[in-house]
């Protein structure tokens, strides 16, 4: 639950009472949306003045009006006339002189304003909140990876013990995948564009006044810091927004994977990691002894909620002819995805920063299989020496070791077939056969490589 929880108990959507992200309010609430739309209307009149269509004075008057309108009055007006942008325009109108009125929204169609405002606020939310939060998590994971780069852990494939790694190495996977997603989101954010091409995208209205209406469009958008789409209809081509949400959703998938890993490592029988438990926290209403991985469960659950929304995003790629309005409601649900994702990232950063590691259990679990771990390097070393059926031989030996509950290492040492081969091993090879926890390849070094790589790519300094 967020610190700044707003207790809106009469809401239906949990986004606003449980997963609220205060920092995103300036961008993603309905109030914020109206502000952004007004900002685009203001940008328009500023540029109209630059292009000498209207006087500076009129522009100033409208800009001031646009800055001061409130969500409440816009909704009041919308109730009356059933059109959201016209309602906004009327509210601005009511605050300016008669002579300024005709120039509000001049040459614009609703979606010049709406689509541009959306691109703008997604961009702001991304650059000012989401990406910084992602980077905070990235750094947390980097330090964890660094801290645990030499702590040996059994690697698990299919839920089965495989070969040893280090815990830091396991975390470095997430450092890498997450860093990669941050770049993807940055790229998608930078590709967000605006439009000012009118009701069907052909600059029909602005061509009445400008020989080069694209220049005018560029000027308006540049006023708010966006590039124009190459071409548009009444609305923007949907793909930049689709890519943006793909970046978000595919990032959420990385979080979900991390949560599943941690949940499993927290199982009673494995118990290698734990969420920090606060003093007063209750694990179960009836079983006082429980310590549940609830943050990891929660973020996995959020992924299930938001991942499916890509279907809606893909459906919204289709808009008939110069646009239909079947993306009106669906578009309004998009900001929530950003809120849910940010809430998830934050929760992960918080819980990761306090992640508790149980090295004793890590070692204990590793030791369970240390006999068997040796099977792989030995088979390889045998094969290298030309033992023609090494894999099959080791497989049968392993099976026997399991069945008879015998130490595979001991069986190997006693095995007459293997003796001549064992004698040819180098010292470091022998060491691994005798102490399989050394069999971690370059796990530790890899942590450093990855941390360095992403520190550079994400420009995090040293």
């Amino acid at each position: 639950m967020e610190q700044n929880l707003k207790e809106k108990f009469d809401n239906f959507s949990p986004t606003d009472y449980r997963y609220f992200v205060e920092d995103l309010k300036p961008y993603l609430t309905e109030r914020a949306f109206i502000k952004y739309k007004a900002r685009v209307e203001a940008a328009l009149v500023k540029v109209l003045a630059k292009f000498k269509i209207i006087s500076r004075e009129i522009a100033r008057e409208i800009v001031q009006a646009a800055d001061s309108i409130t969500a409440e009055e816009v909704y009041e007006e919308e109730k009356r006339i059933k059109h959201d942008i016209r309602a906004l325009v009327n509210c601005i109108r009511n605050r300016v002189s008669l002579k300024a009125r005709p120039y509000i929204h001049f040459l614009a169609t609703s979606y010049d304003i709406v689509d541009t405002a959306n691109a703008l606020r997604y961009k702001d939310a991304s650059l000012k909140v989401i990406i910084p939060e992602m980077i905070r998590l990235e750094k947390t994971w980097m330090s964890l990876a660094e801290r645990y780069k030499d702590v040996v852990q059994i690697g698990r494939t299919h839920g089965q013990h495989a070969e040893p790694i280090t815990f830091g190495f396991a975390l470095a996977q997430y450092v890498n995948r997450w860093g990669n997603r941050i770049l993807k989101l940055k790229e998608a954010t930078n590709n967000l564009v605006g439009k000012f091409s009118g009701a069907v995208g052909a600059y029909n209205a602005s061509s009445l006044f400008f020989n080069n209406p694209e220049e005018f469009e560029r000027a308006v958008l540049s006023e708010v810091g966006l590039n124009p789409a190459n071409i548009s209809t009444q609305i923007l081509p949907p793909e930049p927004v689709v890519d943006f949400y793909h970046a978000i959703i595919s990032s959420f998938g990385v979080l979900a994977n991390f949560c599943d890993d941690m949940r499993n490592l927290q199982r009673s029988e494995i118990a290698e990691v734990g969420e920090e438990f606060e003093e007063e926290q209750v694990g179960s209403s009836t079983m006082p002894q429980k310590k549940n991985p609830l943050n990891f469960e929660n973020v996995k659950s959020m992924w299930k909620v938001f991942m499916s929304r890509m279907i809606t995003v893909y459906c919204d790629q289709i808009s008939e002819h110069q646009r239909d309005l079947t993306n009106s409601c669906s578009q309004r649900y998009l900001p929530e995805v950003l809120v849910g994702f940010t809430a998830g990232v934050r929760r992960m950063a918080k819980v990761s920063s306090k992640l508790q590691i149980d090295k004793t259990n890590m070692e204990k679990n590793l030791r369970m299989s240390e006999g068997l771990i040796v099977a792989e390097p030995l088979y390889i070393l045998l094969a290298f020496q030309g033992y023609s059926d090494a894999h099959e031989y080791m497989r049968k030996l392993s099976m026997r070791s399991l069945k008879d509950n015998q130490s595979l290492i001991e069986m190997i040492k006693k095995d007459k077939n293997l003796k001549p081969y064992l004698e040819k091993l180098t010292a470091s090879q022998k060491e691994i056969i005798e102490n399989p926890s050394k069999y971690t390849g370059i796990a530790s070094k890899k942590v450093e490589v990855i941390n360095k790589l992403w520190r550079r790519k994400l420009e995090l300094g040293e």
Copy 2:
């Protein structure tokens, strides 16, 4: 936009500022949820008294406390202890005497309360609001179908003119599909169950006191009007809720289809139907002449939003062992689907009740193709008389009619090959060849049949 719009501009989710359904507040808000959970806690102590585990007096004390707790205090407590049900229990505790305290939540696990409360409020919302709203729409469609049962309209397949139907017949399809979904939702609602089987579903705790703990469970659930699941873990088997949401989402699909049909019939070139336009309503912020099918577009858009959520519902069928908590957040988003659906149903009922039909355009559009319509009955009548390649003959004649822009009816009359066949037709068959708008089969009668069928099945009286 809802009449009772609550102007919550600082929300992220549009569910609470644009698609709010006032009537669902008593069931589906967070405040309502807490009330429902308290109600289950109350049912528990009532039954404990019945089974003589506690005194009636203690039960009464707890019931009163449970009735009076507020969402605000529960959240305050949850912030402290990070457990929602224990927070609720603590709030009730604080309001009762020392001797009553131990019996609050007695023998229960959190999800005995949570899952039962959810089943209960879904059921109430369904029976008290959603199904009545669906029936209201059904009745509206029934009257429209009845009213227009004889208004001939060209049937369209692949967007192409096919054979004639009546507009009422087209609507009767929706009466039938919608009636069928109402029954499906009723069935799914009735299948919702509760549980009182404890932390892992084996009645571990209640077996400490009862020889037949299932009897105790039945009594508690019967107190709130639910049946128990056949068996459960810490949580209910998910399928009843999955079926319930399938009933909702598949009903939404019927709405979406209706919207697409109406949107298309409202196209400028077709113009057979229209949404009623209010006097002050604005069609476009820049094109004053526009009358857009915005309600149909909007509900189609809502379908895109909520349809995809079935993925989350299907994902939540999986809960490891006796439960994991990865459905915590996702479950909290379920009520919103009911709100969105109800908002859509209402909007459809409202706009359907005022649907405007343009019979002139229906007739005009039909006449466009009347020459070609005749091709089918004629091919069939020819075939019946043994004309061996009737389909191919008519296909070529049609193509020629199109290419030369000639009336197919005239071509047929002049065609020497066809003459002997035409002479053998009955009077009513001849009438159809000459006036293809009679070629509507039993469209009109079918409207009556369908209306009668669903009036009976849904027990709507006459």
Copy 3:
């Protein structure tokens, strides 16, 4: 991999080389589809003869032709004329006398044939293969549940040890959920309907010859064993097929949950169950010691493949006006879902029937937590005796037990606060406090109840 694997290596879809289900060939291949469509064409002429539209002789001639056409010739013809049903009709035509030709496909539209043939083959596949396979798995799970009804296992919630159950009780959950899905699929299968209402559903063509064309429709469909839809357009109302696929997909979810449970119980650290390993089987290409839960992983993976297809099914609820053809390709992909599901069910039945249980590990894992398990019953028994803050007291004691690595049972016995309460316990209550593995409620009995219930509901006999 299926026994009857057809080695079609030049295929792109793994359905046909890895997940092939030989028994479904008579229903769900393209060849089977053509046979079914021909069967509907045959039913039509039989009924035409019954209604005296054509002679019995002509009907017989066409029925014979319909029985003998091959997929190859139909495709050859389709290549020429680009219409699949007309191609089928032409192929039948080529095999009959001139005088019979006009009556093939008489009064029918393509989708009278296609939709009816699909309903028919889905129904056959369901009743003859899918449901029997599901019942086979149900019986397997029933015997497993019966066999292990008294084998105590620690119950797990959030991946954490909770209260004890029995392994048979855990399996009984699946017996119940699966039985419930079998009934759901049966119901959905029985609701599949056909149509014979012509090009726009108004019986336009058949009304040329019959006063009661619905009677004629009923007769044709009854010939193949189906009921007619209440009303239809060119195509059937989509909901019965949507419900049918929901029944399949929601059943698949139960399998997926079972797979996840088993995969987790097979983890190296838990090791309570195992897939039987064949003598020659290789666990890993490089790690000879591995025994992976590959069948459980595989079926979970299949669920991911097929679950998402419900989106397509929901999208196909929308067909404009009297139909559009945007369900043509998507409808062709539906049978594959049935194949994938059946392959999954079979694999589960096979692997379940050989499921290996490690009772030693079950006991060992249970014992890990036996100290803590006692916390719940004790807290309840304390509460019952009026200990006002029992939950909190036990929570703190448990925490201390964990921190100090002390036996909770011993701590309890020594605790002076608890002494007076402990003395008041009944014998059976005391037994549970001292031997928490007795704390399984009615787990064992519940297995019998559930098996009996589903044996009755599914009419499985004794």
Copy 4:
């Protein structure tokens, strides 16, 4: 249906009998997959020789064996040992001398081979078939856009007539969106990587022989033309493949939108475009006069099939710890998405290249609304001149024009209020008011700009 249809009637999946793409066989069939895996095994031994681990002679022997193995023998072996990669290895073993045998698959884990082979064949399929096909469609659309850049068409928003554009301008939207997707797919293709880091990704095995095992990995992958992942587990980080499929699916969405536009423009009442109809083609089995937009319907339907598969792709981002195998089956279904997409692209290229335009109908439809079109420019020009309530005035005038069925242009000319304003218009502004089909902004010029832009970005030459 594909030209090179393989008549595989005993298949369940339509991918292999209806949507087969012959050109993709070398990359995406099971046979191709085995070839690719063998190619990676061959690359490995070549590099082993380079690094002096084995002799060139042995490497050559293994490479030859790897080149010659067949899918049939691998499946035969897999049946026996139940492990696909070990089966492949065994088949190669059987073809080489005793002394070469140990070095096959040396130091590799299965997924070093599988994941690398998949990345490789996706890359080849993309670069050699998919992108070239996409470019073919892009060029087709470019020529269409160029050809129709000056053909005026009414722009449509909400299915309603809005302002005029040109048909070429409408097509240029697709040129732009499609070009953008081609770049996205190129980028995603180039980001596909391979791995050679062993069973848990830490280079455990290769570290037995190399001080710098990453150098060895780079050498093996460079042999097949891939870069290594920054870090990997047993499997590759999933995101590059997720991005690749996002590029495919979001491209498919552009096709789907195009199909919907064309289907709608082909409606009987609109009839501005048509699919070319072949001489022998049958439109309807019962209505000989029909000309259906079946290719557009078909590709829209394919989009519904494949779009939903992103859910599976997103689910496969999660793999527990160093991997679980729950992506085994789902990964095998991925190539089919590429086949379906390519089939769709081809079909669109074919049907687009023969797209028929009916300029008469375009003009007729435009004329329907020409009176109303004038409303926008006039409102703007009035506003510019300071008419303070121009929008509202024009809205009411339009409404009246509709209600009274009067020409808006005539009403405007007669309107005394407007007269002083009209007199101040420039010549070109007046021209637009009088001939609204001139009101197309820079539609025509924009076509040239867009074609030029994408010719450059896609390096298509002049």
